[in-house]
Each structure stands twice: as C-alpha cells, then as structure tokens.
C-alpha cells in the first residue's frame, strides 16, 4: 500500500532559535502534514513554529562532496567567534 507521501518536519523550539529537523511524518497533503507534525513532535509544547517540506523536495549534499563543500572553510578560522581572543574583563560576548 503505497500510501501517504513523506514530509520532513522542522520545529522552532523557542523564539529566536532556528528551525531544527526533528523527523518525518506521512500525510496526504501539506495541511495534514502540519497537523500530524504538531500532534507528533510537539506533544509536550516543544515548539512555537513548524515547517513541513515534502521529503522529495529536499536535495542533500553527498558525503563524497564533503571535501569540496566544507573543507575550504576549515582554514577560515576568523569566521569562528573563538578566533577573537578578548580580555576576560570584557565578559561574555
């Protein structure tokens, strides 16, 4: 029984945070996917916002491309906050 298509679910757990992938649901349409996602992934009020995306619409990077896609930024340490040493007196930033 090839039934309802698969949707990937992303939940924003708190205001100010990014949506995070939490899993998937089956649903006949986007509206139902939204409701199913709400019923499944936010039973303990874990979310303030939900995205659902048809799984077939997602293009994922292949692990073989890891070196091309991600390695070049490995040496760009200035992109990371820990690169900037600040005196302790400045406090948490």
């Amino acid at each position: 029984m090839a039934d309802w298509p698969l949707y990937e679910v992303f939940v924003r757990s708190k205001h100010g945070l990014n949506h995070k992938h939490v899993g998937s649901v089956h649903a006949a349409d986007a509206e139902m996917a939204m409701e199913n996602a709400r019923d499944l992934y936010t039973r303990r009020s874990e979310g303030v916002s939900i995205w659902v995306v048809p799984s077939s619409a997602i293009t994922a990077s292949s692990p073989d491309e890891k070196e091309i896609l991600f390695d070049p930024s490995d040496d760009k340490v200035y992109r990371h906050a820990s690169f900037y040493k600040l005196p302790d007196e400045v406090g948490h930033m």
Binding site: M1, D3, W4, A28, D29, M32, P63
Partner: protein, 331 residues
C-alpha cells in the same frame, strides 16, 4: 528490550584485515564513535540489520498500545484515565519516531508494516500476554517499560545517528511511564483493599518472567549479538542488560511488599548481583514464533485497522490531488 532476536546475516565478525577498504573505513568510524548518517556508505548487512531492529522496535511500540488499550476504556478514575491515555499516545508517537528513523535507511514503512501483518517479522514477545486486571496497567508501566528503558538508555549511544536521536527523544519522554506504573501499584498496596492488593500480586506473578524474557536469549544462544555489538548497533549483551534490570527492580519489588514467582531469586554477596532462576526458554521461543496467548488477536487487530482504513487513506489522497488540481487551474 523491544527487539529480541535480530538476524544480522553474519556467521562471525570479520577482522579488519579481511574487510574491503570501504568496510574498513566504516568499521574504523564506528570504533571511533563517529555516528553513521543516512547518506554515508554502509555495509548492506549493517543496513539490513538496522532495518530489522528498528522496525521490530517500532512494531513493538505500536502493538504495545493494545494491551493498555484493553483497559483505557475501563480506567477507574479521571486522573488514571488521562495518564494512561497520554502514555498510550506516547507509544504511538514512539512507533512513529522509529519508523521515521527506519525510513532514512531506504525502507518503506507500509511495506514493513505489511510484513508484520503477514507474520513475517517479529515484535516484542511481551505484548502477546493478556492484561487481565487493572493492576496490569501498573505492572506494564513498571516492569515492561522498566525493562524497555534499561535497553533504550543504552541504545541512545547506538551507532546509527537517526536511531540514536530517536532513542534520545523516546527516553526523555518515557521517564514518566515507569513512575506512573509504579505509582499505581504503590497506591493499591498502601491504601487498597485486600482484593486490590491481591490484584497487584497476581499481576506481578504473571508479568515477572515475560518481562525478563524481553532481553532476549542468553548470550551463548545469541549468535547475532556479536556482529551487532561490533557495529555498535547493540551496546550491551542480553545477559548484562537482564542482570541490570533485575538488580534495580528487586528492591522496588520489596518496597511494594510483593514477591516474585522465583524461589531462586536472592542476593549474591560474592557477585554483587541478584541470582535468579532459569527462564522457560521454550515458552519464549513459542511466543516469539506466534504461539503466545494473544499473538493472533494482536496482529488481527492491527491488520484490521490498517486494511479497514485503506479507503480512508485513499480518500485523503484523492482529495489532496483534487485540491492541487484546483489550485493549478486557478493559477
């Protein structure tokens, strides 16, 4: 444990030297505790073993709704009814988390469920036992969920990322299940009538041994365990987990003022563990093969639900297609 016997297809574990370069790289990743993700290369045996284990686990959660569903319509108070409903709902949810993890491996949920309904795959033997009195709702929470939690806590560190993340979620949600169960029993034992107390002891007598069987056969009878451990799909052996469970459960049993139906159960000072009697393995294999008290009813109920719901799912799909067509026409 919800997956008691998982076939790995491996007679013995290969050494690093015997492996292909890909296999070796994979095994080294596992050894270094790097999580495997859906798009990573993996040996076919690993993928198949995981699909078997995760689907067994998911089927167990779903079938596991039925013994409790048997009492949810008869829960004695509003509070107990709400607690039981929430717990059963969590179980459906956990089944869905696990199916979702399984689908990242390229398995199809509907196909795997069909296999369950055709009797081709297993689910935990425990859910083939009947729930005969209200105290069973306490015992199932305390012993059955308790045994499951012992296993699932360890599985949070399983090597496959999506499975591990599902387990972390499940463990977080499941902590209330065992407490809920134990509290039912404790209240009945402390403030209950003589009849209610007998209900509790009767329930423990029936569920004690089946709960111990949840961890699967002894290590020397588990040829698949070694491969699963090498792949870090399993993290601890059946016997280790069973002993952990008994050691933590006996003091709780004594606190209730109840006894276990095992004359050999006693503390062994030397081992620092409880000794316990021999499990009836014939019964275990019988139930697992389909000859338990409720195997037939459980599968029938699930099959009827899904088969009987075919027109519902079909209608929802047809409606979705029509709506999409309308939108396209309007655009």
């Amino acid at each position: 444990m919800y997956a008691q016997l998982v076939e790995t297809g491996a007679k013995r574990v290969k050494s690093l030297e015997e492996m292909s370069p890909e296999e070796r790289e994979f095994q080294l990743k596992i050894d270094a505790e790097t999580k495997i993700e859906a798009k990573n290369w993996m040996p076919e045996g690993y993928r198949k073993t995981l699909i078997r284990q995760i689907s067994q686990h998911a089927h167990s959660e779903v079938v596991g709704m039925l013994p409790e569903g048997n009492w949810v319509t008869r829960a004695p108070t509003l509070k107990r009814k709400l607690q039981l409903m929430a717990k059963i709902q969590d179980e459906a949810g956990h089944g869905l988390y696990l199916y979702s993890a399984m689908e990242t491996l390229g398995a199809d949920r509907d196909e795997e469920i069909d296999k369950l309904h055709e009797g081709k795959v297993k689910y935990s033997s425990i859910f083939n036992y009947p729930t005969l009195n209200w105290a069973d709702m306490g015992t199932v929470g305390w012993l059955v969920d308790g045994a499951a939690i012992v296993n699932q806590v360890v599985l949070q560190r399983t090597s496959y990322g999506p499975y591990s993340r599902a387990m972390i979620r499940i463990c977080k949600e499941e902590s209330f299940h065992q407490r809920q169960g134990y509290q039912i029993l404790l209240d009945l034992m402390r403030e209950g009538t003589e009849e209610q107390k007998q209900m509790v002891q009767d329930s423990i007598n029936r569920f004690w041994w089946p709960s111990l069987m949840m961890f699967g056969p002894s290590d020397d009878q588990s040829p698949n365990s070694q491969q699963s451990m090498a792949w870090k799909i399993k993290r601890k052996s059946n016997d280790e987990l069973r002993q952990m469970f008994i050691d933590q459960t006996v003091p709780q049993l004594e606190f209730l003022g109840c006894t276990a139906p095992d004359p050999d159960l006693k503390w062994n000072e030397e081992r620092g563990h409880y000794d316990f009697g021999e499990i009836d393995w014939q019964e275990f294999y019988d139930v697992l093969k389909g000859n338990g008290p409720c195997n037939k009813e459980r599968i029938e109920t699930r099959k009827n639900a899904i088969d009987g719901g075919a027109w519902v799912r079909e209608a929802a799909r047809a409606y979705a297609e029509k709506q999409q067509q309308k939108q396209q026409n309007a655009a």
